[in-house]
């Protein structure tokens, strides 16, 4: 038996892929998360009201989602409903997160696969070996950074600190957004929108070219699609868990507190992450899971891309490289929707309602860029007696491994291992945009 080990890069966190082969037959394909900090343990006994500041440190990429999920879990335990102004600001926070993440995944993580370079920052060394001129690459890099920066600025505007936001608090937010600041943010997003569309058009084009060159878009068997978007329009603030069955015609809907009745978690010996399944079936979360259930993005440009997408690939669509294109639709949506919200007054009305903390159990659900994220706390004497973080990347683990196996079978035969396999492994994993810091936490 031969064991092939592939280090991974251009993903968040530390992980590797191990594929076992015997005489040309693929025995297994494992995705191994290789880091662990132990957040469920280290927050034990911490005052519950510190979770919104401590838990964003689970991940600097998904920190905003953790910040909001933590606040929602406490509000669930304390039985309070935040005022409308707070909900708007929190939605902006989630949009900033989405914008920043999708721009990073598209243009920094996966664009290089389409251009045949090792990084969009690797200027001189790679430019010689490709037909892209050095200058063009620098331009792509600069524009990509500009778009993702608009996302970071949106997080700062709505959340205070730019990576680990602080503005969402139990009962609401610490304050609104002054008109002047909202107008500046809006102008920045309006400038970013055409650039994002242009980059996405280019990305779409080179993705099609790559699909043709490879002769495949990767694992395209049906799967269950999981999101916290229970409706026909996007809503990243999160309300109910929603599963579209693999046949594409049946749906299950359930509140976050019932997740265990539907999702089965198993730990594994070869990874610090483990995996989940839905009634014995492979689950997929992240962009494609959402785009597969959405009929209307609610904003014009994103709707045009959604139409283009469904006309070209159908709905539900299953090939994994479509996760990447689905991300582009959401990138455009995030900018457009944030512009809409920033056009409304954001400094009128109560930012928060008063509350009294109480012991009990709370669930906080948001739709993070990678799928539904749940924080589950049990609070005793105002302290965390038990904490649990249910992470979207973990829901994708079986889907990643299935897709890796499909790729391995394509590129391995009795005679040899095709060199393309290494690149294929990277493409497969990046399509799911896994976050290892979150998955292991």
């Amino acid at each position: 038996m031969t064991r092939l080990l592939f280090p991974l890069s251009r993903i968040e966190g530390h992980a590797q892929v191990a594929i076992e082969v015997q005489e040309g037959e693929v025995l297994s394909a494992q995705f191994q998360a290789t880091e662990l900090r132990g957040f469920e343990y280290l927050v034990q006994d911490a005052p519950a009201d510190q979770m919104p500041v401590v838990t964003p440190r689970i991940c600097g990429v998904c920190s905003t989602a953790h910040h909001v999920a933590a606040v929602k879990a406490l509000e669930d335990a304390y039985e309070i409903t935040p005022p409308p102004l707070a909900l708007k600001i929190r939605e902006l926070l989630m949009l900033g997160q989405l914008l920043q993440n999708q721009a990073t995944s598209l243009f920094i993580f996966t664009m290089p696969d389409r251009l045949g370079v090792s990084s969009i920052f690797q200027l001189a060394s790679d430019a010689v070996t490709t037909d892209k001129s050095e200058r063009q690459l620098t331009e792509v890099a600069t524009r990509a950074l500009q778009v993702r920066q608009a996302g970071t600025h949106l997080i700062s505007t709505a959340g205070g600190q730019f990576i680990h936001p602080v503005k969402a608090v139990v009962g609401g937010v610490t304050g609104g957004i002054p008109a002047q600041q909202a107008a500046e943010m809006r102008a920045e997003l309006e400038a970013a929108l055409p650039i994002a569309c242009e980059l996405f058009d280019y990305y779409w084009e080179i993705s099609i070219a790559m699909g043709e060159r490879l002769g495949t878009w990767g694992d395209d068997a049906p799967a269950c699609y999981l999101s916290a978007i229970a409706g026909r329009q996007p809503n990243f603030y999160g309300n109910q868990m929603y599963v579209l069955s693999s046949s594409g015609d049946a749906c299950s809907m359930f509140p976050a507190r019932d997740f265990r009745k539907y999702l089965t978690y198993e730990a594994t010996e070869y990874s610090y992450a483990g995996h989940t399944s839905f009634q014995g079936e492979v689950i997929r979360a992240n962009s494609l899971a959402r785009i597969n259930v959405l009929h209307d993005m609610g904003t014009p440009a994103a709707n045009r891309y959604l139409k283009r997408f469904t006309e070209a690939f159908g709905q539900p669509a299953h090939a994994i490289l479509l996760f990447d294109l689905a991300r582009g639709i959401e990138l455009v949506y995030a900018i457009e929707r944030a512009i809409e919200i920033l056009s409304e007054p954001l400094d009128e009305g109560d930012p928060a309602v008063p509350h009294t903390p109480q012991d009990g159990e709370g669930f906080g659900l948001v739709e993070a860029p990678r799928g539904p994220l749940i924080h589950h706390y049990t609070i005793e004497d105002g302290k965390i007696a038990h904490a649990e973080f249910i992470i979207p990347t973990v829901h994708n683990m079986l889907a990643i491994e299935r897709a890796l196996r499909v790729a391995a079978e394509r590129y391995i035969d009795a005679e040899r291992v095709n060199m393309e396999l290494e690149r294929a492994v990277g493409r497969v994993v990046r399509a799911f945009d896994p976050c290892i810091a979150c998955a292991t936490h």
């Binding site: 251009r10 966190g13 530390h14 191990a18 880091e35 662990l36 900090r37 132990g38 343990y41 280290l42 927050v43 034990q44 911490a46 005052p47 009201d49 510190q50 919104p52 500041v53 401590v54 440190r57 991940c59 600097g60 990429v61 920190s63 606040v71 406490l74 990073t104 920094i108 993580f109 290089p112 090792s118 990084s119 920052f121 890099a141 600069t142 950074l145 993702r148 920066q149 700062s156 205070g160 600190q161 730019f162 990576i163 680990h164 503005k167 608090v169 139990v170 009962g171 609401g172 610490t174 010996e269 070869y270 990874s271 610090y272 109560d350 930012p351 928060a352 509350h355 903390p357 990277g426």
Partner: protein
């Protein structure tokens, strides 16, 4: 063109995200290695090595030792690299044992008994504290700027007004909402430690109405001393401005979200404070 690399150990990648926000380096510096954004699997010879994350696994330790040999200058970036970071919150006997027992896996890197700062193993030339450090601070490290043009403390950047006659009697916790936008958070009963926290961040948290939890570490006045000195000075500020009982302040300071940062420049676990000279800290 200056070559630099970013070695990511066990952390949250927030430091790397912050670096990506400092887009000014893109056409001035060559990023030779940073697994988050480049597919290069080994650290090449570089002028500057930024290390983020703490040493949590045996693999972290191996990578760190290997990488510093190829670097001209080594910078410890962020709370995790400087102190071991948020992972230190699990450094209580009862938690640690449970955690390590549960974590054992056959085929992945092994966890060390605790999380370590990188300078427990290798020599560090500069420290860039922050959780994460702001993008402009990364640029200062890249350009080699040492001049301290930065605010001394967070208070200096905050701009909130301190009132004499408003003296809260108890802390209000961290989650009360409805924060007055202009008045010092201490006057409003928040455990804000911006008065002695290292400046340079621009006070984004306090400006947004959340107390500073001290992620930039102690100001130069306290950085070479053990954390008790810093904590005493915070207690003095609260005594001067409030009627909050001292134990309440002390308990607050030892609670996780502050302890995380308060102890970052002095060893959290045992008393042997490792002194980092202030000249090395941006």
């Amino acid at each position: 063109m200056k070559n630099f690399a970013v070695l990511q150990l066990s952390g949250c990648a927030g430091c790397e995200v912050s670096l990506l926000n400092a887009d000014a380096w893109v056409d001035q510096y060559n990023l030779a290695y940073m697994p988050l954004v480049t597919s290069v699997h080994d650290v090449p010879e570089v002028d500057l090595l930024l290390v983020s994350g703490g040493v949590r696994t045996d693999e972290d330790l191996y990578k760190l030792r290997h990488a510093v040999q190829r670097a001209g200058e080594v910078v410890a970036v962020g709370t995790c690299a400087i102190s071991g970071g948020v992972a230190n919150l699990g450094d209580r006997d009862e938690v640690r044992e449970l955690f390590i027992a549960q974590a054992r896996r056959r085929h992945v890197p092994h966890l060390l008994p605790k999380s370590h700062p990188i300078d427990a193993f290798v020599e560090v030339d500069r420290y860039l504290p922050g959780c994460p450090p702001m993008s402009h601070l990364f640029m200062m490290v890249l350009t080699g700027e040492t001049e301290k043009t930065l605010a001394r403390t967070v208070c200096q950047d905050c701009g909130r007004k301190k009132l004499r006659d408003v003296r809260p009697e108890h802390l209000v916790g961290f989650q009360t909402g409805k924060v007055d936008p202009d008045i010092c958070l201490i006057n409003q009963g928040y455990l804000c430690i911006g008065s002695s926290t290292r400046g340079g961040c621009g006070a984004p948290c306090t400006r947004a109405g959340h107390p500073c939890v001290g992620c930039r570490g102690p100001s130069d006045a306290f950085i070479e001393k053990e954390s008790a000195v810093w904590m005493k000075s915070i207690a003095r500020v609260f005594k001067g401005m409030t009627d909050i009982p001292e134990e309440e302040i002390q308990t607050g300071l030892r609670s996780p979200q502050l302890a995380l940062f308060l102890f970052q420049f002095s060893d959290y676990a045992d008393d042997k404070a490792t002194i980092r000279p202030k000249e090395k800290v941006l």
